[in-house]
Symmetry: C2
Subunit: 138 residues, 2 copies
Amino acid sequence: MCNVNRTGFMQLLGQLTVAGAVSEEQFGERVKYLQELGDDHYVAVIEDTEKGQIIATGSVLIEHKFLRNCGKVGHIEDVVVDQTVRGQRLGQRIIESLTQFAKDKGCYKVILDCSVENAAFYEKCGYKRKEIQMAAYF
Amino acid sequence: MCNVNRTGFMQLLGQLTVAGAVSEEQFGERVKYLQELGDDHYVAVIEDTEKGQIIATGSVLIEHKFLRNCGKVGHIEDVVVDQTVRGQRLGQRIIESLTQFAKDKGCYKVILDCSVENAAFYEKCGYKRKEIQMAAYF
């Protein structure tokens, strides 16, 4: 993440939800925090090297539980593919990369939340519909 | 968590899903790992002090994002109330405690996954139904 173009990366996230005007300092601090998590966090990116632009990303956070024999679970978050390059299986490659990472780190499962409309995409990636997501906003 | 009765705590989690036979050493290592997360992880417990038994628990893991101005999100996990004391609002107290913790730490939202049957309980706790959960098991 150190070498990532901050503006381009934040613009890509802005296609998913409000990304905000993150300063270079804020961005650097967040990168540092996430690096300290070591193998418990991973951001996958796909870059268009000709344009020097990140065109797809997603992240996975690994949770360490007590249950399931002190098992680990991967939480996939913030998956987005640039609107100009959708339909090229880039999202699938991001999910495969994040899922494989979690598997390699010993997780017994990986979970994510998505809209009903996106469920078919995740089913193609090997995911199954399970529970429902609830949220409280502050 | 240091002073928690390991056997009783794991038996309580076993009412939720497979908890497994976690050794004292494994348990101690997991507690140590979670303590190192500092304010990014919190386990709430309610103890029956007469019986010296944990009767309700839940945890929240705080995720540090890039989007939403480098925002933070609380992930509530592993909420369980002992089957002998259900219907006494202990679950609600656990959720309130976890939600307040995440709010105090600056999260812009808290999310959790639950069964359709449990949605009404979380709605009483101020949560709203949002997306769907997908999972891949290894």
